[in-house]
Assembly symmetry: C2
Homo-oligomer: 325 residues x 2
């Protein structure tokens, strides 16, 4: 008998990704991605989720005609109520109290489960990626914002009201930079993609020589974190310094997590991993300087392995953990 | 048949406290405390632990002649290896790889279990004190240093190598004050007892008028956190400002914990609770300003209730959780 499958859907701020994950996690079929296009409205986003689910399902039927589809797991931006399957509030998509689980279940005709997108990405990396085999794994997802997920004693930890893991909004400098959340000195205000780009633009404004403007035709507003990594790769000293500073700020945040959780792995997901060793080597040094030695010795810091699909794996796993028997 | 009891022993930096805790946690018999007097050497400390255990046991026999004593739980400064029952390193006591569990078991003739002192205090508050009934509770112990303990899903969380919960050494200011641990900007460097006293002395040095010198005969070196709370209680503006600043720093640390753990309770133990509402009201305000609203709404911030005995309750509970069937 063929293995059963679970649909995993990852509704990210940038991309909507879907695929059919084999229940043992060893294989994904029909993986596909498209831009989220939030501006098209709430119902339309749900309709596109359902359409993608159908496309994945069709491909699964073609490739593995006998494969059973158990259900669908969805990763969505939070905060959300996992028990009720409701997205409480998503500024990017303009959603308030959106019963996404029910809508997806109706649209697909499959039982559905819902969890936070960062939780799903970290769960995916723990199940099949860079954090495999760890009893305790902490993950950061670094993109437009910084999210987090906590695997403690081999299970996703949700906290009292499903909002655990807001690592991006932990303070690393009480009098520091203003964050979008209104607070000052959040990790996200230093080390998210837009924060990295902003620090590069500030450094350029301070007059440092750099290749960066030549990558964006002189339009500094077009500099992104990716531009900074590219310039660092090409040996640009200003960009290299921005990456080193990023490592320093991330090192404070990751050091805090290591001191508090004493995990076996910290896995860092998202575009920031493109910076490679230029980021990870000084990050490890900063963590070693800041955190408690026995906790540092117990912990690996690794980039995510499932680029683009971690959230799909994790969403499928969420379904399996709640319904998979 | 009378209830069985468990000896709880709390080997703190300042006091050695012992008592016999009824296995249902409802009663403690023979509670006693004496200064730790670390200078007397490792063997002598163990001998005094054993002597206190015997004294508690005698009192239990007098008061409840038929009560069975199941064993002994010990809370000790860490880092330690709970599985082997060994204190790895305790600078204050000069211990390295001290097999404390075995020594206490030999000395008392009872089975013994060992855990970190801050873990025991928080576990005690969760079992019988201010954090009763919470599924997830985070505790801080604020004294000479700042320790922490994590109750997650109703169980003490230890991490990969028994060093989870080092909340005092999380960074709240990347470029901040030097901490005893060698790092910069640790919470402990701002909000421990000695740090509170130091900030008061610095404020006096900056020339503020204050009653504080009159409490210590003009010898500023004798100012402690307790002196600051007393002066704040008496309306001294400089001391009040030091307490408000303490609330601000603690608020950053507690806000981080709330954003990461989304607990039902944060319990704050130790002498700092003497500052009362002068500390807790601005602390709550700062947390509300910094942390994520749904996480703040889910969480109470409370002072510990079991002053002086939380560690004894928790140490007894450690024994029960590991051996109590």
């Amino acid at each position: 008998m063929p293995h059963p499958y679970v649909l995993g859907i990852d509704l990210g701020g940038t991309n909507l990704v879907a695929g059919a994950v084999r229940a043992d996690g060893r294989k994904v079929v029909g993986l596909r991605s498209e831009p989220t296009r939030a501006e098209r409205g709430a119902e339309k986003v749900v309709r596109r989720i359902v359409a993608m689910a159908k496309a994945v399902r069709s491909q699964l039927r073609r490739e593995l005609p006998g494969a059973e589809l158990l259900g669908v797991g969805v990763g969505a931006p939070g905060p959300l109520d996992t028990a009720r399957g409701v997205v409480l509030l998503t500024p990017n998509l303009g959603w308030v109290d959106m019963p996404l689980r029910e809508l997806v279940a109706e649209g697909t005709g499959l039982p559905a489960e819902l969890d936070n997108d960062a939780n799903c990405a970290v769960l995916g990396e723990w199940w099949q990626g860079a954090a495999r085999g760890a009893r305790h794994a902490i993950g950061l997802t670094i993109g437009t914002g910084i999210g987090g997920g906590l695997i403690l004693d081999g299970r996703l930890y949700h906290g009292a009201s499903d909002v655990a893991g807001e690592i991006g909004h932990t303070t690393i400098d009480t009098e520091g930079r203003r964050c979008k959340c209104g607070n000052y000195g959040c990790l996200e205000a230093y080390a998210s993609g837009p924060a990295i780009a902003l620090r590069a633009v500030e450094a350029l404004g301070a007059g440092g020589p750099s290749l960066l403007p030549s990558y964006v035709g002189g339009d500094l507003g077009r500099i992104t974190a990716q531009t900074v990594y590219q310039a660092a790769h090409d040996g640009d000293e200003l960009a290299l310094e921005v990456v080193r500073e990023t490592a320093k700020f991330l090192g404070a945040g990751v050091g805090n997590l290591i001191n508090v959780f004493n995990p076996e792995v910290v896995v860092i997901c998202g575009g920031v991993t493109l910076a490679g060793e230029r980021l990870f080597l000084p990050l490890e040094r900063e963590v070693a300087r800041r955190a408690f030695r026995p906790a540092v010795q117990a912990c690996r810091i690794v980039p995510g392995e499932l680029t683009g699909s971690a959230g799909v794996y994790g969403a499928a796993r969420v379904f399996l953990d709640r319904r998979g028997g």
